[in-house]
């Protein structure tokens, strides 16, 4: 599938998702101020208002929050902070899991390796709230935004990703190194890890990352709330608490662009990496 086709599909998905959320919120019962004013709402008017809102969003007018700040500016400041958390969690959990997988493959019977695998499995049951409060309990994570604070919230967030990466990479390495084509490459004098890494491991990492990102974004909502960290997750909580239409739509649209973009780019990368799909 060409890049242009993927882009067109992404735009269609984006319009579909934002229009659905817009109509549902627009028709939600109770008090809700649409674009800062309380007006009469009906399903018929929703389509017209959606088109009007879409036009404004394209020109950069995403509305205003209660404090008078532009929502577009607020999101511009908060999105990079959330992405830093998500990216940091992904990188740290990937590196840790790679180290553990390689260690477990080389020293299969070492007590240290086996116990760390057990700990990893146990971690999968621990809630992100619980883990965050464990850091608070030991006074490790003070909201001063120092390096240790960043590291701890990244670790709290990356707990699930670490478990995912570890299980995926462990099974893929096991599978890849026993494949016939890897044995054939080895017999011809090629590096066994080169083929296994390119066709099996890299593909597995791309897929695990893509499937983990939605859960990580969901995790940032909790972590940002607990640690009072100004990111997009904190914004969505404020938007829901105050039933603020423009902020809810703004955050949803920003996240939709981000998540649909990542999902479709993964599809593109997968096609490039997988020789079966590529041919």
């Amino acid at each position: 599938m060409s890049l242009i086709r993927i882009l067109v599909q992404s735009v269609i998905k984006l319009i579909g998702v934002t229009s659905l959320v817009y109509v549902v919120l627009y028709c939600a019962p109770g008090h809700i101020a649409i674009h800062g004013v309380e007006k009469e709402r009906s399903l018929g008017r929703a389509a017209i208002d959606y088109v009007e809102w879409g036009g404004k969003v394209i020109t950069g007018d995403w509305g205003y929050y209660k404090d008078g700040r532009k929502i577009s500016e607020r999101l511009k400041q908060h999105i990079p902070r959330t992405l830093l958390l998500v990216g940091g969690s992904l990188v740290i959990s990937l590196l840790l899991s790679l180290l553990m997988v390689l260690a477990s493959l080389y020293w299969q019977h070492m007590v240290l390796v086996r116990s760390s695998i057990t700990i990893i499995n146990l971690l999968s049951g621990i809630h992100i709230i619980v883990l965050s409060y464990v850091f608070v309990l030991f006074d490790w994570a003070r909201p001063n935004e120092g390096f240790s604070f960043w590291l701890l919230i990244i670790l709290a967030l990356g707990n699930g990703a670490l478990v995912d990466y570890f299980s995926v990479l462990h099974s893929q390495f096991d599978k890849a190194l026993s494949q016939d084509y890897v044995s054939a490459a080895l017999a011809r004098g090629a590096d066994r890890f080169r083929h296994a890494t390119r066709y099996e491991i890299l593909l597995a990492i791309v897929e695990a990352t893509s499937s983990r990102i939605p859960a990580l974004i969901g995790g940032t909502i909790i972590v940002e709330y607990i640690f009072g960290y100004n990111g997009i997750g904190f914004d969505i909580i404020k938007a829901v608490e105050n039933r603020h239409f423009d902020l809810t739509m703004g955050v949803t649209t920003a996240l939709a662009i981000l998540l649909i973009g990542i999902s479709d780019m993964t599809q593109f990368v997968r096609q490039r990496l997988d020789p079966k799909l590529h041919s």
Binding site: K13, G16, V17, V21, V24, L25, A28, P29, G30, H31, I32, L122, S124, G125, I126, H127, I129, V130, Y133, V134, V136, L137, S211, P214, A215, I217, G218, I221, I222, Y225, I236, I237, V240, E241, R243, T248, T252, L255, A256, L259, I260, S263
Partner: protein
């Protein structure tokens, strides 16, 4: 190699069809079975005790000189071991004692009783979620797997879109709609509706798995034979594919979903979008005791442990069921 073969032969011998259910359970390993059975008994006891015993989870207990505390720590002036006595005489954050086995919470209520009521809430909300998850996931999976062409593509497309978004974000959007529709007086209905939404939003994962099974089994000999024998599509899908082939998958996914439902209910309540007083839930307990963590109280840690253990139990149960049903499948 020899040891491995011997142990595998021994394992296979234990799995002979005439060995029955116990052989399959034994093949899982004693420790795993003991772990699951113990936690099941604890969880079921906590759940049942709320129905059998007439206990008020909101009762605040006053200090009584006859209470014997389990620890010998110094009694602080005007306080009880581990906690304090309020001016009204209520013991706050008291240590475990003969009357309150796990001590008291931040308002002087019995922690064990509240944990039991919390277990009841988490189990009932989890069951609502799993019911909707099963109904929606199976229906969508069957439609996407059975029909070919546009319907198939449309469902796969929709599954991908829903899976792209974080469930928590979708639930927070649902809170805006449900929060205004259902009043505070029907707080239980609100959480049930949110759990139904959780089941619905999570259903594409199950639907995708069932769709894959149906698509792969469609061309197999036994399905072709069933068609040739004149069986109706609903009979083939319902009995031969869903019941015989997809049953392990559905059971395992349901157990896993139960754990996820407990996590999400706790999260929503913690974020102030779920249950409220006078309901009792682990999320609510944790939220109200979060301040106690800063002052080094152990009671929030017990609630944390209960949540983690319950979630881990259901995830572990899913793994056990997977092994058990896979063995059953292998035995044919």
């Amino acid at each position: 190699m020899t040891n491995l073969s011997l142990s595998e032969n021994w394992r296979q011998a234990r799995l002979r069809p005439d060995n029955g259910v116990w052989a399959r359970v034994r093949s899982l390993g004693t420790l795993r079975v003991v772990f699951v059975v113990t936690l099941s008994v604890i969880y079921a006891s906590l759940f049942l005790i709320t129905f059998l015993a007439d206990i008020d989870p909101h009762e605040r207990f006053r200090y009584n000189k006859d209470i014997v505390f389990n620890e010998d720590s110094m009694l602080a002036p005007g306080g009880v071991p581990g906690g304090v006595i309020e001016s009204s005489g209520v013991m706050v954050y008291a240590s475990p004692n003969e009357e309150h086995w796990l001590g008291n919470d931040e308002r002087g209520r019995d922690l064990l009783v509240r944990l039991a009521y919390g277990a009841r809430t988490s189990l009932t909300t989890g069951l609502v979620c799993v019911t909707f998850f099963l109904i929606a996931g199976t229906s969508f999976g069957v439609i996407a797997g059975y029909f070919e062409g546009r319907w198939h593509s449309l469902f796969v497309y929709l599954f991908n879109i829903v899976n792209t978004f974080p469930i928590l974000l979708l639930l927070l959007l649902a809170v805006i709609v449900i929060g205004a529709t259902v009043g505070v007086e029907f707080i239980f209905l609100r959480i049930y509706l949110l759990m139904a939404c959780l089941g619905f939003f999570s259903s594409p994962k199950l639907a995708e798995l069932i769709r894959g099974q149906i698509s792969s089994l469609k061309e197999t000999a036994f399905v072709q034979a069933s068609v040739a024998l004149g069986l109706k599509p609903y009979q083939i899908i319902g009995k031969h594919i869903l019941w015989y082939e997809c049953r392990p998958l559905i059971v395992v996914q349901s157990a896993y979903m139960m754990g996820q439902a407990i996590l999400v209910e706790t999260t929503l309540t913690y974020l102030n979008f779920g249950l409220e007083y006078p309901m009792v839930s682990w999320g609510l307990m944790f939220r109200s005791m979060a301040g106690g963590i800063m002052t080094g109280r152990f009671q929030p840690v017990i609630v944390m442990a209960a949540i983690a253990l319950a979630v881990y139990f259901f995830h572990y149960l899913a793994g056990i069921l997977n092994d058990l049903l896979a063995t059953e499948e292998r035995r044919g």
